[in-house]
Amino acid sequence: MSDYVMPNLQKEKIIECLKEGKRLDGRGVGDYREIVVERGISKNAAASVKVKFGKTEVYAGVHLAVAVPYPDSPDEGTFMTSAELHPMASNEFDIGRPGIESVELARVIDRGIRESGFIDFKKLCIKEGEKVWQVFVDIVAINDDGNLLDVAGLAALIAIGNAKMPIYDSENGVVEKGFTEDSIPLNKDALSFNMTFHKVGDVIVADVGGEEELISDFRLSVAIGDNKGEPRITAMQKGKSGAISSKDMENILKLIEDKWVELFPKIKEYVFG
């Protein structure tokens, strides 16, 4: 079991089934697996959460620390996302320096949150040019059964949405133990979440499982927010070597609209609820 290589037969079976719009676990091509969210897995963090899509499981936590701002934005807080695709999550992951997969995942999530304007960095300024809050989001993969990017992205959003500001002694400039009742300053309207679509065989599928992910030609991750009740794309990243045809793109855009209507209210509930 440890050195698992997917047989060609299994690959053919997956592709055959998809031609009839079916997936091996019984889902339709656009269906997401059951999403399970558990908050507060570590009381020592400003926020922490466990998120599962089916068997894919991720932990995420938020920490805040006082730091010196970057010279080019002296009145803004800073932000850093790290992801550890830990070898406990999959036989494919190794111990040691983060591989390209963790780096890409962390960067896509970091960019999506940073550029959407979801966090109000100006309000994270303590003293211009000297002291600002630094927001750390740390992601740890626990079990990989496909689509880690979407699971990790949602976990990061929920952690940020639930994070409380630390108690700060401004006279002595030290962060004390414990947290206030105040949330991190957010622009709630700017919330956008990530959906990744893969092309498996000839079909575009949402929320891939581990085996589907292994044999897909390309993936397209799309971060989508709300523009007065309409979906608005805020970030994209294409991965893997396959190319996107215009028909693929049409299919993806259609799926995006359907899925957005279905999922966005749920995502909001997870993040702010």
Binding site: N44, K55, G61, P87, M88, V140, I142, N143
Partner: protein, 240 residues
């Protein structure tokens, strides 16, 4: 000082001196692994995942006579109030090694030459005693993976808080500074021969007290062992 009363007579969380925090154990928590378990005591939780036996690379590290056990311990960045930088540290590397030695005393990999069995221990939340919680979880996970073991291993941290000996110290007790301060003694005991598989000490203690510590530790490990055996017998939680 001798004969004086200890400054630490009542435990901060109201426990008796020989009382372990409430324990929760689960197995099969990581479905893609060969074995997995979590072990929680109070505010401390450890996850242990076993992958293997699998071929060991690079090849020159292989042993043609036996498989190799490899332990990797780490704390998640959000497990404590000061963020821990991801990746290995001197502390985590040392703990990995002492836990590896402890587990190696009961694991028999002679049937799997040239392979490695990896044990990954991760701490999502910490309130002292993470290495012993990790060792307890690892012992369950190895059994869950069906790795040949001569015995189980159970572990507990005994503490000397000022002059009072207590089992399963929490963070507040670990940080006690009055009087003689706090001494932390993590120890692990094998399930049948009752031998000590891990022993570390930080602080000050007399030989007599140490004997008492070991006695208390062995007794507390019996409580741990019950939980470990129960979760293995009651079958898999969330497993396939």
């Amino acid at each position: 000082m001798a004969g004086k009363k200890s400054l630490y007579m009542k435990r901060v969380d109201g426990r008796k001196i020989d009382e372990v925090r409430p324990m929760i154990a689960e197995i099969g928590i990581v479905p893609s692994a060969d074995g997995s378990a979590s072990f929680e005591t109070g505010g401390t939780k450890a996850i242990a995942v076993v992958r293997g036996p699998r071929t060991l690379h690079p090849q020159h590290m292989q042993d043609p006579k036996t498989g190799v056990l490899r332990v990797n311990y780490g704390m998640m960045p959000f497990s404590v109030s000061d963020r821990i930088r991801p990746g290995p540290s001197r502390r985590s590397e040392e703990i990995s090694k002492v836990v590896e030695w402890a587990l190696s005393s009961v694991v028999d990999l002679s049937g799997f030459p040239n392979t490695v069995v990896d044990v990954f221990i991760q701490i999502p939340k910490a309130d002292a005693g993470t290495r012993v919680a990790g060792l307890n979880a690892a012992s369950i996970a190895l059994a869950h993976a069906g790795i040949p073991m001569r015995e189980m291993i159970s572990a507990i941290a005994v503490g000397k808080v000022d002059k009072t000996l207590v089992v399963d110290v929490n963070k507040e007790e670990e940080d006690f500074h009055d009087g003689e301060g706090s001494t932390d003694i993590p120890l692990a005991v094998t399930s049948r021969s009752k031998e000590i598989a891990l022993l570390q000490l930080d602080g000050k203690i007399s030989p007599d007290e140490l004997m008492k510590v070991i006695e208390m530790g062995k007794k507390a490990c019996e409580d741990v062992l019950k939980v470990q055996i129960e979760v293995l017998k009651s079958g898999s939680v969330g497993d396939e």
